[in-house]
Amino acid sequence: MRIGVILGFFIVYATIRIFMNKWYWVDAYHYLTPLYSPCVTSSCVEGSSHLGTWFGNFPRFLPFSLITFVVLAGFRGTCYYYRKAGYRSLFFAPAACAVPEPHKNYTGERKFPLIALNLHRYFFYGALVFGVLNIYDGVQAFHGDGGGFGIGLGTVIIWINLVMLWLYTLSCHACRHIVGGRLKNFSKHPMRYRYWTFVSKLNPKHGTFAMTSLFTVILTDFYIMAVSAGWFSDLRIIN
């Protein structure tokens, strides 16, 4: 129930935010919210398009962050942890262990549309690319007021979010499989065995990282939205 409320809140929040198409960039400190990174349309606010503009002006009803949204929502939507959480809390299949489920029939993940959940690894590849872009955004966020180096509370929040996002991404079950899990003979691939061992240590905490990073994404986005909208000013630590 609690997980269902959290997931529901995130879905509503993210949907509202991506259709707002504003308050995603703080020019003074170069803060870019992860929900809009990378911003690659001509409609993006000046300075926020780190990677240049790949598309022309988007119509008002189309989110600037459409690509970001598809990849990140796809990564979380097909994630094994969120599948478990969603099946339990949103679809009651089952609501809890040994609790009868309300559905008359059950076909699992064998048929369309749920068979598409097998695309998880492709969203993982996408999330890796976006993770690298987020690091770039994080480096940009060390920007002082008026130029030069600076650190604010926003920078700290962005980096906490960055760490949580990477822990979530690297602890992914698809990542564990790709780095070495698919092998039959670890002894013939010692480096991949080491990667697999590393990911296997993170993997049991995948659910924790999934929920924590969900909160940090919302927090980061909300903070940047608030500073960008002028609801409050950024607390500066250096410059």
């Binding site: 097998n118 899990g181 039959k184 670890f186």
Partner: protein, 250 residues
């Protein structure tokens, strides 16, 4: 320190039955199976209960205690309040034979459907060589005591009797994963996992892992890796192409 514990035990057979209330003496340090034995010895000599080792290693005394699949011998009485009614029922997924004893032959049927280890054709017995790192992953699955609690709690067959024919359940999908991860097994387990053993039914809600008395990470270490291996073989064109071009064994 003993008290009179309130027990509600399912009594009946394949024709039907009901929950009956009992008051039984409970002593310090006892487990549910001790109390069931005392009930059998003092009040209900005809009550059927399957048990063997009383040490959580034989997997015989599986039942549902307050609705949760558990081993009766591993469920301590001090986890309940003294005035709490402890309800003991047989495993719901399998047909009742009598009282707390169920017919688990479904599992033996599914076990027979998993082909045994198949070594490479060019290796004879005695020529098998493998490293510890290659086998230790699947050694976790060898801890299984076949209590069938994971089978019992899996909603795919617990709530949908019609799926029993096409779904082998977590215990035997774990067996398929164990063989697929074996460095010398040459059988095609991946297509079989999806098409014959019904891996696609699993929606990874982890109840099998939650109830496993051996704490085997069934979902994370067997079922999800097996799902990913099936994706390699059936749904991922890039892996398929890579295997065709490079022909590199995993």
């Amino acid at each position: 320190m003993s008290y009179k514990g309130k027990f509600r035990v399912w009594r009946g057979d394949s024709e039907g039955g009901e929950l009956k209330d009992y008051e039984v003496e409970v002593n310090e340090g006892e487990v549910v199976l001790d109390v069931i034995h005392r009930l059998q010895a003092t009040q209900t000599p005809d009550m059927a209960v399957r048990w063997n080792c009383k040490a959580g290693k034989c997997g015989s005394c599986s039942a549902e205690i307050n609705g949760m699949p558990k081993l009766m011998c591993m469920c301590r009485m001090n986890t309940f309040a003294e005035d709490e009614v402890v309800t003991v029922t047989p495993m719901r997924t399998f047909p009742v034979i009598r009282d707390l004893v169920t017919d688990v032959s479904f599992n033996y049927q599914k076990a027979r459907e998993v082909p045994a280890f198949k070594p490479p054709a060019d290796l004879k017995p005695g020529e098998y060589r493998m490293q510890q790192v290659d086998v230790e992953r699947s050694q976790e699955f060898r801890k299984c005591i076949e209590c069938f609690l994971c089978q019992d709690t899996c909603h795919v067959i617990r709530d949908h009797e019609e799926n029993k024919e096409s779904f082998s359940g977590p215990r035997f999908l774990m067996r398929v994963a164990e063989l697929d991860m074996h460095p010398l097994d040459a059988a095609d387990r991946q297509h079989a996992a999806q098409e014959q053993h019904g891996l696609g039914f699993c929606n990874i809600t982890k109840c099998c892992t939650e109830v496993c008395p051996e704490h085997i990470k069934i979902t994370d270490n067997a079922l999800i890796p097996m799902k990913e291996r099936v994706v390699d073989r059936k749904y991922d064109p890039i892996v398929w192409l890579g295997n065709k071009i490079r022909r590199r064994p995993a």
